[in-house]
């Protein structure tokens, strides 16, 4: 939330399933005084499990990881700690990755093969509360602003399905272990993205696009 530079060092968590990369980034970042690497984890689930204890300011998150990928992890992290800045670190220089990362709530996107001082720069920028998109591939990866229709995130699709099946906000919140208010936010976002105002409309939409079919228990 704070837009001002924080006097205490930024608490950075590195999440990557390649130990060489994680260690490399760690050793580089440790040379800066205003950055404190609080740990390296190798998959998204571990991040969520230790989120509250580690309380990171910035997470450097790999996209492709076993168990739970970077995008899903980002969404769930933000549900629990919305102030966390997630910086996606990836090998992919494809525009779709950038827009997906941003739509899942990431604050920045960084190619792994950028010069190392750019990682530091990116951390500084997101700590100041601004988006950071890597310079090396700016041209190719700059998101073509907002597309005509924004895609639903994984989480939003899950919630849409549950709502369409007739579950209440509270039930959804219980199943996903998040607050009712968070569900409410997701719900608002879904309705905005789909341009639908009623729950019946959501159900119909899910039906017409083949989302609801095959989800019943009677098969």
């Amino acid at each position: 939330m704070t837009a001002l530079p924080d006097p205490s060092p930024a608490r950075v968590l590195i999440v990557d399933d390649h130990p060489m990369v994680a260690e490399g980034i760690q050793s580089i970042l440790e040379s800066y005084d205003d950055i404190c690497v609080i740990g390296t984890l190798s998959n998204g689930r571990a991040v969520i499990d230790q989120l509250e204890t580690l309380a990171p300011d910035v997470i450097l998150m790999d996209l492709n990881m076993p168990e739970m990928g970077g995008l899903s992890t980002t969404e769930i992290v933000l549900e629990h700690r919305p102030d966390t800045r997630v910086l996606i670190l990836s090998m992919h220089d494809n525009a779709e990755y950038i827009s997906s990362a941003l739509s899942h709530g990431a604050m920045g996107y960084l190619l792994k093969d950028v010069p190392t001082d750019e990682i530091k720069k990116a951390i500084d920028v997101v700590m100041s509360g601004q988006r950071y998109l890597c310079t090396g591939a700016q041209g190719s990866i700059a998101p073509k602003d907002t597309p005509a229709r924004e895609a639903l995130t994984e989480r939003e699709q899950t919630i849409l399905l549950q709502l369409a099946q007739g579950q209440s906000n509270k039930e959804v919140a219980n199943v996903l272990d998040i607050s009712v208010r968070t569900v409410e936010t997701h719900r608002k976002n879904i309705k905005r993205k789909l341009g639908i105002s009623s729950t019946a409309g959501l159900t119909r939409y899910a039906m017409e696009h083949g989302v609801l079919q095959g989800t019943g228990g009677d098969f």
Partner: protein
């Protein structure tokens, strides 16, 4: 729950054979029945005609005999008084002598029923036979007398043959000498007629049965031909399919080898060389550092730059092999990237539309649709001469459909459908068939082609099946 009945599930070939055989059998059975009925009716008509003719001939004969006898006696009967017993005795005597054939005889009954003339059964003479019936209960003597009283006529009944003693049907013509109150007549056995008619009927029946057998045999032969042909076709299809499979396998192997060769070349010619360069740069740096010389910075920078190049190269090769975006983000973003690259490369404008859902297809369907999009765009680039392509992917109630339309020349008058593009189309078709889906190729009005690939609902995932479970649901996660 609905239980499947496996024995009801017929193969296509079996259905086809049944379809051919059942109507054939039904038709033949109906033909056989109609033929039997018709020929029986025809034969019956002719046999009855014959029977009537034969019996009529006998009757005419009888009437002639009796008329002849009556006329013959006219000179006695006509001159005699009703009670002239001498004349009566004379006539009776002559009639008794007029026996003919094996059984032929004249009989005379007076109106009371007393037998006056019966030359072959003389014990009947002067006994009253009124009320006599045959073994079926038909009145004989009384009826003969009644007919005689009315003038003349025929009667038919069973009568024992004098030669064998067996009963047989007899026809009798009787007339009267009214003033003497005599019934005079003679009869013949018609069992020979009846026997030959029965024989004719039996003959017809055998013929009908034989016809049945013939028809049955012909049907059987026809069925054998149908089944045999079916089996032959089946065998041939299977052989063709085998050959096709073999060709396909060969093609897969070829493609695999080609791909491997290409990747090996790229690794060797591209990355390897760059990495060797990096190694030289690093060794150069080490040498300079060890020698305490200046300028170690320069080769190091070069090495780092080369490593960056190597990374870019690896990224390119890996993306060519398989676009990561397909696995990571799903089909929509992957095809979007594809269309953008396509538009940049070819200058053909490319519109992409999709619904907001992502990652809804299983792996097989995703790859298949992606490759189809790739192939279709390649076709557009090479053959269609189009200036605009529209790509659309969306889920619906029955599954998901990828649709690629161009405004090019269409497929109609070109022979490319048989060439490399044809192979591509077949590839697409095969990919869809593999998934139980469908590929539709149509001409857009005003030129251009639309390719629609549809995968069924069974290849769609629910968001739940791949979304992340709740946190702490599984706290012990193996780290790497």
């Amino acid at each position: 729950m609905l239980r499947r009945l496996p024995q009801l599930a017929l193969s296509y070939a079996q259905k086809l054979t049944l379809l051919a055989a059942v109507p054939l059998i039904v038709a033949v059975a109906m033909i056989a029945v109609v033929v039997a009925l018709q020929s029986r009716a025809l034969a019956e008509r002719e046999i009855s005609l014959l029977e009537n003719q034969l019996i009529e001939a006998k009757k005419a004969e009888l009437r002639n005999y009796v008329t002849q006898a009556r006329n013959g006696f006219y000179f006695i009967y006509g001159n005699a008084a009703p009670d002239d017993s001498a004349a009566k005795a004379q006539v009776a005597q002559i009639l008794s002598a007029m026996i003919f054939g094996e059984e032929g005889q004249f009989f005379v009954y007076d109106y009371d029923g007393t037998a006056l003339v019966s030359p072959r059964q003389t014990d009947r003479i002067n006994t009253n036979r009124s009320g006599e019936t045959d073994s079926e209960g038909t009145p004989v003597v009384d009826e003969l007398i009644r007919i005689a009283r009315d003038g003349a006529g025929f009667h038919s009944y069973l009568w024992p043959k004098t030669t064998t003693g067996e009963e047989a049907r007899m026809i009798t013509y009787v007339t009267s000498f009214p003033s003497w109150q005599w019934a005079v007549g003679t009869g013949v056995f018609i069992d020979d007629v009846l026997a030959s008619v029965a024989a004719a009927r039996a003959d017809v029946e055998t013929r009908v049965q034989r016809t049945f057998v013939y028809i049955g045999a012909i049907t059987l032969a026809a069925l054998f031909v149908v089944f045999g042909t079916g089996m032959l076709i089946n065998l041939r299809e299977r052989r063709l399919a085998d050959a096709k499979l073999k060709r396909l396998t060969q093609r897969v192997f070829d493609a695999q080898e080609e791909e491997r060769g290409r990747v090996a070349r790229e690794l060797h010619d591209g990355i390897s060389q760059i990495l060797v360069g990096v190694r030289y740069a690093l060794e150069n740096t080490r040498l300079r550092l060890a020698g305490g010389k200046d300028g170690a910075q320069e080769p190091l920078e070069k090495g780092i730059a080369s490593l960056g190049e190597a990374i870019t190269e690896v990224r390119r090769i890996s993306r060519d092999l398989r676009p990561g975006v397909l696995d990571d983000l799903g089909l929509g973003p992957a095809i979007k990237t594809l269309t953008e690259d396509f538009a940049t490369r070819t200058g053909i404008t490319c519109a992409f539309e999709t619904v907001v859902f992502r990652n809804r297809l299983d792996n097989d369907a995703r790859i298949a649709l992606y490759r189809i999009a790739q192939e279709a765009l390649t076709n557009v680039e090479r053959h269609a001469g189009a200036t605009h392509v529209a790509v659309d992917i969306r889920g619906h109630r029955k599954g998901a459909t990828l649709r690629i339309s161009d405004n090019g020349r269409g497929l109609a008058d070109k022979n490319h459908a048989r060439g490399s593009a044809g192979l591509g189309l077949r590839n697409m078709q095969e990919r869809m068939e593999q998934l139980g889906g469908r590929l539709d190729i149509s001409e857009t009005q005003g030129g251009g082609t639309t390719i629609a690939a549809t995968v069924p609902l069974s290849h769609m995932l629910t968001p739940q099946s791949k979304s992340a479970p709740a946190p702490k649901a599984n706290p012990k996660v193996a780290a790497e």
